[in-house]
Symmetry: C2
Subunit: 382 residues, 2 copies
């Protein structure tokens, strides 16, 4: 176990958290097959050789940064990546060091969104098969969220195939763009939601595109990731709720929201109030928005205790699952993070992971246990 | 006192909240002089006659709605307004009914932002003088935030005049656009922040323009107000913090954030983490973002208890002041809110106001007292 984690746990009088045995539902991997796709590309998203190792360029903002830079400067665009992105043995070492028993892997953004539909259909099947094999051979360390093509009919077919043929794939990761690029509130999403519910799978909803991006350029990626991502989830889910589509889907639909639901646990009361004061919107809904929001699941990737407590107060501790967002937000490899390359980051303490343990050290045993593992076991059928 | 409020308080065993004696720091008025400006205009923002009374069109989204409608339909654009917007006797009746002893009035958005600078300078002085007279003659029921022209030099002059000549004006309301339309992180804002601090006044920061507006059109104003407004405050303040300007201003600067800081209390941990992982941004700052955010004041316009508790956990109960956002989010006047006109809304129970009392009924006496009045007395020098 990591020295910092041991120290964190030692400061607690509560012995029960010392054996963390956590289940991580927000942890990404770029499967080798996916890395090959990225390495073969010259447009975002892509991987290219850089100083001291490979670099990954995936964000819309990075695309512009890259294209406006000279070729030499372009070498330093994006972020340095190493085995933490694709090597599952690296992931296992990180997990062992950070008290994580099982990781429910998902492909990282932008998934297959950038590929032509025919290729999406093919690659989704291949990647989901890869994921199944990887998990099956992992001695219980891995389960997975699969990927789906962005087409409502083909997505339903892949969901049905996953449910019947790939027992270690327990859900699918979904972009806020939805299946047709028209968002989660597109009526064509209905059959997909119903298929997910029938199959007993979970949708892991994750941002990629950002909201308010025109405001963040002067501040690197800090605001894009801190605000743009969380706003994006908030907007997409709010529109889903206000569309009334959820009144046409069983309330057992399992939807897991990344990054503690963006900002929804904080804004839910204001959203209720604004809808209540807009009769034209309210009359389309059977319930206040917060009623739907309380049906969903949320990861505990909140980074400070007031936010996690807000989430618990809003949705209840039985709807929250531990997550790390590994391999993003890695430890600084040395003073100049831009020059270090393919060092094995699994040998370092990840402060971003530790901070998500720190948020729950003052919670009681039942809440910790629920968030660290028990809720995940129920949701993922472990 | 309102029947609903009496009922709310009666459900509590805690007798001390029955005499609310609240001080409302988030309550707007369209002074008669300002109404005259709006009535004389044909472009947003403006007031026009409508079915059953006047209608106010102030939001960017409403402008488009209005211009794409036929003349007849245009009559129904915007929102119906009555005396609750400009009649201080109406405000007093509303206050009496809802347990509010003192209201710190501010002009509502979009303030003077739409006027040519010369007119802004003139109207700011006139409106601030009007506000002073109104408060002075109110037997202690009103204090005020003034308005300032959007020019860093002239704003400093008006701040100095307010501080020396207008004792009932205890601060100024400021748009997220800042003084030069370049945001709160524009270096030209520095002298203004310093002048506010020297004068012992408070900045009341308020949204108007929205962030993410391109996503909200299909859902009336509900998402623009619930999300666009709160995102706007979050973005503007985050940029102020990340700019490093606050390291050049005394940490005594009094900045009050509307709507419980938008989403900042929830996102503060993630913002810290994202900045910590972006060395180029972090090295410009003396502290983590949350250190600056904890210096600010926040209103309690949060609409549900998990958000208010999050705010308390993050910033402490001594930085939070009660607010109502009156006269916005009025009670529905009858089944068809679009046809009722100039009924006296001060005779009705305002659910939006009640919900902001409801958020604190489970807090202990010291916290309630601090938020309802004691913090406001210190901040406003009452």
């Amino acid at each position: 176990m990591s020295r910092a984690l041991t120290k964190l746990l030692a400061t607690q009088s509560k012995a029960y958290v010392r054996d963390l045995d956590a289940i991580d539902l927000h942890t990404h991997v770029y499967l080798p097959r996916y890395m090959d796709i990225l390495r073969a590309r010259n447009d975002v998203p892509f991987v290219r050789p850089g100083i001291g190792g490979e670099r990954l360029i995936i964000l819309p903002a990075e695309q512009q940064q890259n294209s406006t830079m000279s070729h030499n400067a372009g070498i330093s665009a994006g972020r340095p990546i190493g085995g933490e992105y694709w090597d599952v043995n690296n992931k296992i070492r990180y997990m062992d060091r950070h008290g994580i028993r099982t990781s429910v892997l998902s492909l990282a953004n932008p998934w297959l969104d950038f590929l032509p539909l025919e290729e999406q259909i093919l690659q989704a099947a291949l990647l989901n098969n890869d994921m199944e094999t990887l998990c099956r051979d992992s001695d219980g360390r891995f389960l997975a969220f699969g990927v789906i093509p962005q087409d409502s009919t083909m997505a339903v077919e892949e969901v049905q195939r996953v449910a019947s043929d790939l027992p270690h794939v327990r859900g699918v990761i979904l972009s806020t763009a939805g299946l047709n690029g028209k968002g989660l509130d597109d009526p064509e999403m209905l059959e997909f939601y119903r298929a997910i519910d029938r199959a007993g799978l979970t949708i892991f909803l994750h941002p990629h595109y950002g909201v308010g991006n025109e405001h963040y350029a002067e501040y690197g990626h800090a605001l894009f990731l801190a605000l743009g991502f969380t706003f994006e989830t908030t907007v997409a889910v709010s529109k889903l709720v206000l569309s009334g589509l959820l009144d046409q889907v069983p309330d057992t639909l399992r939807l897991l929201l990344a990054h503690s639901g963006g900002t929804l646990p904080f804004l839910a009361g204001r959203l209720d109030s604004c809808v209540e004061h807009d009769a034209a919107i309210a009359q389309n809904l059977q319930h206040a928005p917060s009623v739907y929001l309380k049906r969903f699941y949320y990861d505990a990737v909140a980074y400070h205790e007031p936010a996690l407590q807000c989430l618990i107060d809003f949705v209840g501790s039985d709807k929250i699952v531990f997550g790390t967002d590994h391999p993003f937000f890695p430890p600084a490899k040395d003073k100049d993070t831009e020059t270090a390359g393919n060092e094995d980051l699994s040998e370092l303490d990840w402060r971003s992971t530790l901070s998500n343990y720190e948020t729950m050290v003052n919670m009681n045993k039942a809440v910790q246990s629920a968030i660290l593992r028990e809720n995940a076991k129920k949701l993922m059928g472990i």
